[in-house]
């Protein structure tokens, strides 16, 4: 993290450029309704990236399996809509609840050990869930995905249209609300405590911070956010499949956060936009082998150095 390109100084109020960003996102709904499904996907993945930022950027927990919560949220929301109640908000709440629980249960695993241990353990959890979803394909639909999910209308009146316009507004609103909440949290004493833990866990303990308790709390919170993102995906696409639990999801969101810069929340949004642009560009070039170029980008970025990339992108975004 650079000394010169500082993140916005904390304050209750949003700064002008932030307001511009959100108004701009909303404006897209009016200006380019044809692209609503694309914006919807960006909003969802941005929420996923923000959730990862909470643990990686702010708390220093490296996770290679964050898709575990994303996928859980997706499946729970889809199954809930299919078998219980198609109301989206109730489904969202249930999905978030289950993801939160999962986060709480698995948080114990990331408290101990080195970065390598954490990488492996989080990877392992995601793989276990993937296998579970795969094996119990009578429930989850396995590799084909869960069919027959129909999300009901919002508030009973606003049905999700095929054009994705309702979907985008829905996802954008959820993203905005959760983002505001996260923004508050990271600027509050709790958030600073997390940063202290990230920078120097021994020192944090020496000033009285209960490190494990705080990390458990933020890991659970991040799981909730990721679950919400997954639920949004399932609800707005009426579909859930193993793809939501797949390793590439965890890797892609890491890349998005690298592109946007971790530790300043907006990095998740910026990075997701950048990633999506890249992904679509590469897919247009080589529909089947775009993964190669993504890999190349990762390699090059890492050779350059995460800090320099984040500084660069942040400067470009904020100055504009």
């Amino acid at each position: 993290m650079a000394a010169s390109a500082q993140p916005p100084t904390p304050g209750a109020r949003m700064r002008a450029w932030e307001i511009a960003v959100w108004l701009g996102a909303l404006a897209m709904w009016f200006i380019a309704p044809r692209y609503a499904p694309l914006f919807n996907e960006i909003a969802i993945l941005a929420l996923f990236a923000v959730s990862l930022d909470l643990i990686l950027g702010y708390s220093g927990i490296v996770s290679l399996g964050h898709a575990a919560f994303f996928g859980t949220g997706a499946y729970v929301a889809a199954l809930f809509a299919k078998h219980f109640l198609p109301d989206p908000l109730v489904g969202l709440a249930v999905a978030v609840f289950v993801s939160t629980l999962l986060g709480l249960l698995t948080s114990a695993l990331v408290l101990r050990g080195s970065d390598l241990t954490r990488l492996m353990v989080t990877l392992g959890v995601a793989l276990i869930l993937y296998e579970l979803a795969n094996r119990f394909d009578n429930i989850t639909g396995g590799a084909d995905g869960l069919q027959g999910v129909v999300t009901g209308p919002l508030f009973g009146s606003f049905a999700f249209d095929l054009g994705g316009r309702v979907a985008y507004l829905y996802s954008l609103t959820v993203l905005f609300v959760l983002f505001l909440l996260a923004r508050r949290i990271v600027d509050a004493p709790f958030g600073y405590g997390l940063r202290a833990i990230r920078d120097n866990p021994r020192r944090a303990a020496a000033i009285g911070i209960p490190v494990n308790a705080r990390l458990t709390a933020v890991y659970t919170l991040a799981a909730a956010y990721a679950g919400a993102a997954g639920a949004l995906l399932a609800q707005t696409t009426n579909f859930a499949s193993l793809d939501a639990l797949d390793f590439h999801r965890s890797a892609d969101v890491l890349l998005a956060l690298v592109l946007g810069g971790s530790g300043w929340l907006y990095g998740g949004i910026v990075g997701t936009v950048a990633f999506k642009l890249m992904h679509d560009l590469f897919s247009a070039w080589t529909p089947q082998y775009w993964q190669f170029w993504i890999g190349l980008v990762l390699v090059v970025l890492m050779l350059i150095g995460r800090d320099r990339v984040a500084k660069l992108l942040r400067r470009v975004v904020i100055r504009r």
């Binding site: 793989l127 089947q288 082998y289 890999g295």
Partner: protein, 286 residues
Amino acid sequence: MLTILFDGIAYGMLLFMLACGLAVTLGLMNFVNLAHGAFAMAGGYLTAVLTNRLGVPFLASLPLAFLFAAALGAILEPTLYRRLYRRPHLDQVLFSIGLVFMAIAAVDYFFGAQQQFVRLPAFLKSRFEVGGIGIGAYRLFIIAVCGVLTIALQLTLLHTRFGSRLRAAVDDPRVAAGLGIDVNRIFLSTFAVGSGLAGLGGALGAEILGLDPTFPLKFMLYFLLVVAVGGTTTITGPLLASLLLGVADVAGKYYVPKLGAFIIYCVMIAVLMVRPQGLFARIGAR
């Protein structure tokens, strides 16, 4: 049941061959190389091409697989990997994931996504009974080859000057450098040999583990598991871990097919919870 034990041991030896390079890389350069499986894949595909398309005998293709993968390692280590040794583990992980993506896509492009098969010589395809235990010739071959190599590795490590220099560099690279040991050369040769062994493992394992473009990702966790459980400071640690894992996996899949894969994952999580530094690591080791 003893057949399962035998198969498990074969599987474990194979895993060891594949993973020991990773263990040394982690122990020596403190580098998390998730792309290690890509080197294995390279060796495997080379063998498939040699035996299927070029008619090279299987036994001859094995050393070639080793050399090919070792050469790849020898090229990539000084040009790319070495720049990232001091970086945080996350950067290394992301870098290696990038390499994996590139490798997978490239292999998919050139060879397609289907399984690759290796033409085995007839004598390796037979099975025979010894005292009631069904023994596959191929698995016996694997155990033999890997066993010999393991002994060679251990002897090299313990009884040669290169071995002692390597051990010194693993213990403390700075002090080793201060003693005049050319740490860079050791890194290079170790990485190359580790990659070569992975390539050999990929070639040997094509028949048992399956070979397709997703190989590096599919087995990534297994390699990491061996390293995490076995530690990175000895040869015997990862060896025991591999054998344990091999037997557990084979037995699990046989006796409890529905849950076979989970056992491995749960074992890993359990081990890491209890001893985050690995079951067999020395106390005080990294």
